[in-house]
């Protein structure tokens, strides 16, 4: 059984976007802070820090996780995908392009989390309807776009991918 005492700093090793990373964390270090401050992967954004806004969403062992509501010590040996991995994923080239053309982002603060969710969602629902896309997007707060551009971009990408 792994035990980490209060205040103790331990090494945490995990795979992020297919590469091995390692850094130090206390038991109470949030995964979002670990990614940014220890691994220097600043693409994961931190908004509300209580699991509501969705900005810090990442993929953890095939499941979506709010990295602000996950402890760094929990990801020992885990596989993570963050926006840095999604940004270079060629299968998502057309999705990023569609986001750009449809005005699916403006300031871009929420976008890393939304792309993490969208990539996971489209693996499970390759041919979503608009209601399903809107339901998925309800787990993210975006104060710029009003979401319409995202809905259009995701639907267009899914239609193109299924052709």
């Amino acid at each position: 059984m792994r035990r980490v005492a209060p205040g103790e700093r331990v090494r945490v090793s995990c795979n992020v976007n297919g590469k091995s990373y390692s850094g130090f964390a206390e038991s109470r270090t949030l995964l979002s802070d670990f990614l940014r401050h220890e691994l220097h992967l600043y693409g994961t954004h931190v908004g509300c820090e209580h699991g509501v806004c969705g900005a810090c969403t990442i993929v953890l062992d095939g499941r979506l996780a709010r990295s602000c509501s996950t402890l760094a010590v929990q990801v020992e040996g885990a596989d993570l995908t963050t926006i840095e991995g999604l940004a270079t994923d060629e299968s998502l080239d057309r999705l990023r392009d569609a986001f750009s053309r449809h005005g699916a982002l403006q300031c871009g603060f929420c976008t890393p989390g939304i792309l993490a969710s969208t990539s996971h969602f489209l693996k499970h629902y390759p041919n979503p309807d608009e209601a399903q896309v809107r339901d998925m997007l309800s787990g993210h707060l975006c104060r710029c776009t009003g979401y319409d551009g995202m809905v259009r971009a995701i639907l267009e990408f899914a239609e193109g991918a299924s052709e």
Binding site: R2, G7, R28, D33, L64, R66, L71, S138, G139
Partner: protein, 282 residues
């Protein structure tokens, strides 16, 4: 918005986890998906000495048929239950409720056991469990006990769980074929905490309907009523909803006054009860 210091423990067996709870009792908190506990830790609304991370206990994620119940392990993720063929076929009310739990993102790691142990008054999983007359399995080094969900929930974030116990499974009664169900809730935003949530089931049995109606978010815990009723669907729905709402003392907060909650609870309760009755195959 950072947690206060605590000791982190990641047991590899249920026995190790229960030993920790036996040693630390109420000073320990169990973490499953972390979707509720993470927020409480970050806001320092809880400051446990020990966090027991049960994500390594894969056996706690099993879903199995046990006689006329489906036993869902405490670590089963909401997203997995939503696509479990057994649950989809036998627990349509739970499935309908789960679609309202948080968001696509939070259901990915969020667990049913965590929601029940957390006991938020507006949570959908506790409401469905109470409405269906389900049970909570509690394990400790002293043994295993099963408790009716109606007795388990004692108030907001308060349950009958003893400090050395862990919620290890939920027992969901299987409704027979032809049972009608309905679930609906009202909230400010999709996926937000329900101001009022209503769940209902109904089964035709000779000249009478066996039916159940539950309400969440109205009082500090889910409430429900089961009855054998005669009459038209409209009559039964109105009678059950008004009976259930009559003696409640609804919560009063920034989102809804007590009076408005009672109004919503009656109309939403009546509506879902009617839909469940209409869905029951004669």
């Amino acid at each position: 918005m950072k947690p206060a210091p605590f000791e982190y423990c990641r047991p590899e067996t249920l026995e190790e986890a229960l030993s920790l709870l036996s040693e630390f009792g109420d000073d320990a908190l169990v973490m499953a998906g972390g979707l509720s506990l993470g927020a409480l830790l970050n806001m320092r609304m809880v400051r446990p000495e020990v966090i027991v991370d049960i994500n390594g206990l894969e056996t706690l994620a099993q879903i199995e048929r046990v006689e006329n119940h489906i036993r869902i392990g405490a670590l089963a993720r909401q997203a997995d239950v939503l696509v479990s063929p057994d649950c989809v076929a036998a627990l349509p009310l739970l499935i309908a409720g789960l679609h309202n739990v948080g968001h696509y993102q939070t259901r990915s790691r969020g667990t049913l056991g965590g929601s029940v142990a957390h006991a938020d008054p507006s949570a959908e999983t506790p409401l469905c469990l109470v409405t269906l007359g389900g049970e909570v399995e509690l394990s400790s080094l002293r043994g295993v006990r099963r408790m009716a969900a109606r007795e388990f929930f004692e108030g907001a974030l308060t349950t009958a769980r003893e400090g050395d116990e862990m919620v290890t499974a939920l027992y969901w009664p299987v409704l027979g074929e032809g049972t009608g169900i309905a679930f609906e809730e009202i909230n400010e935003r999709r996926g937000d905490f329900a101001i009022v949530a209503a769940a209902a089931w109904a089964r035709h049995d000779g000249d009478v309907f066996q039916c159940g109606l539950g309400l969440g978010g109205v009082e500090d815990r889910p409430v429900s009523q089961v009855e054998n009723a005669e009459g038209t669907t409209e009559e039964i729905a109105e009678r059950l909803a008004s009976q259930l709402v009559r003696d409640l003392e609804p919560l009063d907060d920034r989102r809804a006054s007590s009076e408005y909650r009672r109004h919503l609870a009656f109309h939403l309760g009546q509506k879902v009860m009617r839909h469940a009755l209409e869905g029951a195959i004669r």
